[in-house]
Symmetry: D2
Subunit: 460 residues, 4 copies
């Protein structure tokens, strides 16, 4: 990497999961739209063909009229090739396959456990973590070996545990996890500002929030627009929409959307605890007992995302990939809404950025075990990410959060040691696992057995 | 108080709840059996007649042939009279009545929630705490006013919260909470030692255990007889008795005993977590989801104690009291197994004692919020109780415990502020409250309504 | 305060010490130069005439051609009037008089103790704190009463202790302390960047530093320009200039300047500890034993500032004030280099700012007592100042710093309780107080006696 | 090791420094006097002949009429032989020789630095630590290899750093450090009790003290006999003897004793800080600036121990050894006053013990860096040593102590990395090193050069 005329050139990015269709394309687009950087992106994927396709799609952007940053894409066959010399490492993988995910999400239904997402906590999240953590342990080893100074940006779920595993294996790693869920809540605050105060045209970046919690179960205890306290504004907004929910400008009614919701869970949590839950309702509902929201999700107006939908969506994207590859469809350049490229820019010292990320707790979240990965605001500047002191959650919310933090530590141990009994200790303590001890064991056993091929080293 | 010939004379004890029939008599007996102290016990009770009866029963001990410590008992009509000049304050009260307790324990059954005890956590424990904490707040104020330097020994449940309330209101108080549950586990270890190692005649005091957790959900992570590690001994013992349970020398089979158990819950928790749960099975089962043990308590071989039994028992004791009063029955002097008198002796500097007590966490339990009341070992000597560093619980157990610690803090807040919404935040997060949010609210509301007369200051 | 067209109007500022000639004028200038705010500044000073003069000088700025922010100045006779309705409170006072300061600084010379500044630590700093802390205790009480929600910006020394006293008396206060010393070090890094790397034109704001320590004894352990690590750059710079020092573009040779230095102390500390001391050499030298630098200050190329100079300077400013008042001299509008107005702008939500301030430690500085005031970076945004996790100093530097932190806590106690023995405990442990215990006591006694009139409530 | 009739037989003790004449004989005597244990002591020493002599002396005790515990002594030629199979490891060595110590203690005198002892802190203590820590690092490695479960008792100075080094290299070690200095202060409290209260015949074990600080700079903030608070008693005692000092029943006047003192330093520190300094005056005086006490040690009535005296004493002991060996002199059996054997007994589960020891801080001393070795009370029982929560020192005392704690950490780093600059960072911050930076460096350099032969691996 070198600076030429206030631009960073020859930036080296390793993209692990470089054959991805969703995240990779979004990232390519953001890179192309940012004029202050250029360089090379090495695409590594266990599916080399997919990476190769993305190489072609990516390089075609060089000729795109809207393309301001110039990037060369190159699919590589080994992680060593991807990482050597990297300034940045982006990790966005699907651990296992959607078949595995289907087992994570739907097997527990046999015991009456439904999961709107199933990739973070709950039976699905735990078993997904068991197969993902060893993969991330491998990434950490490789990064230590090939690019120990690189900045590592993780987009993979379960976010907290993937990031935690990187630090467990290579404590000196410079990694953080990124997620856009908080952004949507900031947008919701823009809606409240518009509707309650009549202030229009405010962007989510103008809403200043103090963020604390864990990924997908993140909370906001202070929100400001200028020096206007948004907590009472949000309260009025919640009171107004509590019964019917607020669907805002999301395309289509939540009923027809596997991702949509009417924010009723968010509103109810606000009423109960006085702080703003800052993730989608589908995610939030998974961190609390199933009887609270999931059991009556229609009433609470959110959907459970079937993995069949993900499979269909994957197929659509593969088709779209073919069209992009053949030139039949042209790449539409537009900001993805993700902050990865802005974070890179700040880490290169071209900008400053203050946003929420996932990092090991060093005290930024008071009263929470040190070392565990939490989500709070941080300050990004040249070669530096420093968490901001976020204070502490109200005790009743802390209690909901800490339960998952300790569970995460237990799952980490289980995954690294291939220890089924340890996994069970986390499993039975998950709020969604509302079972007798026998049933819990039986379910975990069958989930592990079902996904055995993605669990190398386990005695099954 | 003064020392004469290595004896402490004129010791002043205030007994709050001095009309009690169980604890007070046990305490009177222990006092009489200890030769190194004598003095006055002032009995204060909202039921003055009961205190007066105990005055007579107690003073009669002066003439008991086995009586070595000489104590004068005096029923007093105000707490001021009881406390003024006290060296020690003993608190052992029934908050509310058994009718209130019946509502605590049995009302939740309408929602399918069964409680073996119902006085610590769970719906019953929480509502009991709501009415007890303000009473203890009053005690703390009175102690600050009348005897700020006295040592205060609490025997009332919910133990952790009663003790916590004392410190919240009067941070300089010198209070601790006492409970005998750990002693029974030490006795169980004696049984294991006898049965597995063939070592007989060992007393529970010879079993050295490291204790940590919260009252009634206390754990032992190290147990030694001499320098013999008892963890593998206990493991063998548990393996041997896991299926059938161990009933030992307790009188009568557990089926006929509302307090008995076959220790199967204790054994199962040991198998799951590798550390020894150190309380009775009825208590332990209340700290975890009802589906784990309570739902199949016959299988796990323990009973739920109906409050009707407590009423019957109370009636029996009242009868016994009459007989003691009339002299029809004579007071049987024998050690109660409680440590209160030994603790007093140590605090007077006549002895040293190393035992488990309930104290605010100052770091003795690692990773647990400071200030919350925990149960660990402590060292008693002249005018001093100091907790011993107990280390930390394994993460999965810590998770089970911390949930109740935060819940306790939330209940404390709710009780002191008469805040129903705050109470609900703890209520819905209790492992036994396996309900929809609506049902949880409805249950709490009805429980508060039912016990309204013991909840002064609440808007009901 | 209200927003009109993206501008904050009717902002209310209370200026305590509003008769000041230096800070007040600088602040007036910065306010006038900032176009996004306007409002009223109420000037309160124990010297009402001086405040009145500044009212006239300030209001004249309304007509100044370069004036973009419109501010009305008003001298008020009571602190109540100043504070009521204030959005911001600025505190910049001289505690006592320069005569008092002369006694602080020069009395210790009788015992061979020389002090380059004498307002932070050392005998002078300690005695200054004894008379300043009660004044700040009064400010804290008044702020609690009249404007508890106002943001309070302190510029008075001893910075850490003044700010600490505000929080001690009113824990809910929203106060922070501001100092420009770090800025000069950032400018020095700009010089190093120019000289060693040939990169010119970089401003201090572009130098990103991690700041930690206490005011006037602040340290930088990371410094970046873009993504260039400045630590090796600074090392080369220090090696080059170590022997002769670096005087840079400061006007005049340090010999003729009571404030100037050749940065040799800074360079030597860097060599010894590997981290950058970020304050002027005169300040730094006071935090370590006098034998290190002060005893040979000519060799280390810095001067001791005699209070006679300050008196002369004060006289000059009074003269200048007269000329400004009469219109004989016109107010020169130019940025002061201070950040107060930018901080206000950020707190009003008109900007974001990331800079170093003095705040109670909540964990931003690891391993340092909580509550004590430390200087680290913080993030300013709408109604919010949050410290950034600054990590920890290397142990040997931590040791130098912690000594003053505990001493500060001791001085605080001494000042609030008028406790001479407590003051002595801090005094004898100050690195400059290299005396026998008798001499130390004699010196402290005489210093207290000398400044008795500014020590109300002390038994002298 | 095995239990037979409540006695521990076949106990295996490794004695490192087993050729010692003072400590080893005292230990042999205590072992012989204790009837509940017997076994083997393997004596390892770099001076094998000395160990061999002690083997003969020790085995002769088997026939001593007063000998109740039966121990076989065996000199061994390798540390491996000593450690393999050991239940306990005792370490009591002289690091280097008395010639090295003479250089530690007397070389600094050339710069006006006098040291009463010179083995803990100060220039002598620091340089002694530099040569001792690598030796202890070796011990830790060997213990990890040959007897990782053994209990390790260190008697070697610098106590805190030797113990710290063991834990640094082998974190799982079960080591603690023992020192008798606190015992003497407890005896002094017995004197106060006798003289002020007229209570005679109390032993030091009956004085209950709360101990906190670091070895040789330990403090007592609570002292009780029975339930009598001894702080006011001690205050009266100090007031009475402040001017003249108290020499009590120590043999001979302090003037003629290189170890004696009149406790005037102890009394003065009590007056200054309100807590009891609990070590000999010679030690205490080394932890504070030389101008406080050492510079006028005759006035403060304590002596500096010249190393020539130690050499003479060593010679006397060698002579005594010859006489013991030849049988010319018979071994006098009497309790040494050390607690090592009682500690072993407690660790074997034959007793309980509550006493002060040196252990890494896990929170027993509040506000002090975790991991650093501190001295507080601990509870000894079967296979267990647990520190008791000791609370925190008053800030001004904490400040004096913490300075040495950080210095210790710095010396540890310097010794393990053979890093002279790191050593200098601790050196210049020692209170006794009241020198210019040049002189400090010159002194350290010459001290390192002088003791070069005991500093393998250093670039000198």
């Amino acid at each position: 990497m070198r600076f030429v005329n206030n631009r960073a050139e020859d930036v080296n990015i390793a993209y692990i999961g470089g054959g991805s269709r969703g995240w990779a394309w979004a990232f390519m687009g953001d890179l192309a739209l940012e004029e202050s950087m250029s360089g090379t992106v090495r695409l590594y994927d266990t599916n080399f063909t997919a990476a190769k396709d993305n190489e072609i799609i990516g390089n075609r952007l060089l000729d795109h009229p809207g393309s301001r940053g110039k990037w060369v894409y190159k699919a590589v066959e080994s992680i060593r090739e991807a990482l050597t010399g990297a300034d940045f490492v982006v990790i966005s993988i699907l651990p296992g396959t959607l078949d595995a995910m289907a087992l994570d999400v739907h097997e527990p239904e046999r015991y009456g456990i439904r999961q709107p997402v199933g990739d973070t906590v709950g039976p699905g999240g735990i078993v997904r973590a068991l197969r993902t953590i060893p993969i991330f342990a491998g990434f950490a080893e490789a990064i230590r070996k090939y690019c120990p100074e690189a900045w590592v940006m993780n987009y993979t779920n379960p976010m907290a545990l993937c990031t935690r595993a990187l630090y467990e294996v290579f404590p000196g790693i410079r990694a953080f996890g990124c997620c856009h869920e908080v952004f949507f809540t900031q947008k919701l605050l823009c809606e409240a500002l518009r509707e309650i105060m009549g202030i229009d045209g405010v962007t989510r970046e103008e809403i200043k929030t103090n963020v604390l919690g864990i990924n997908h179960f993140t909370w906001i205890d202070r929100a400001y627009y200028r020096n206007m306290d948004l907590m009472p504004v949000y309260k009025t907004f919640v009171d107004k929409h509590y019964e019917e929910g607020f669907e805002g400008n999301e395309k289509g009614h939540w009923i027809n959307s596997v991702f949509g919701s009417a924010n009723r869970v968010k509103f109810d949590l606000f009423r109960r605890y006085g702080v703003i839950a800052a993730a989608g309702d589908r995610h939030l509902s998974e961190f609390v007992p199933g009887d609270w929201y999931i059991a009556s999700h229609e009433k609470w107006k959110f959907n459970l995302t079937p993995v069949s939908w993900r499979k269909k969506n994957q197929k659509d994207k593969i088709e779209k990939g073919k069209r992009l590859l053949s030139g039949e469809e042209s790449f539409e350049l537009r900001p993805s809404g993700e902050e990865g490229v802005r974070q890179m820019k700040a880490l290169l010292g071209l900008d400053e950025l203050f946003t929420n990320v996932n990092l090991p707790n060093r005290g930024q979240m008071e009263g929470v075990p040190l070392g565990s990965v939490v989500e709070t605001n941080a300050h990004f500047s040249g070669d530096s990410v420093r968490p901001v002191m976020a204070g502490r959650l109200p005790d009743p919310v802390q209690n909901l959060v800490v339960r998952h933090i300790y569970n995460n530590e237990t799952v980490l141990r289980a995954a690294l040691n291939r220890d089924r009994e340890m996994a069970l200790r986390a499993f039975v303590n998950d709020p969604l696992v509302n079972l007798s001890l026998e049933d819990a064991r039986a379910l975990l056993d069958s989930m592990i057995r079902n996904t055995a091929k993605w669990l190398p080293g386990w005695e099954i």
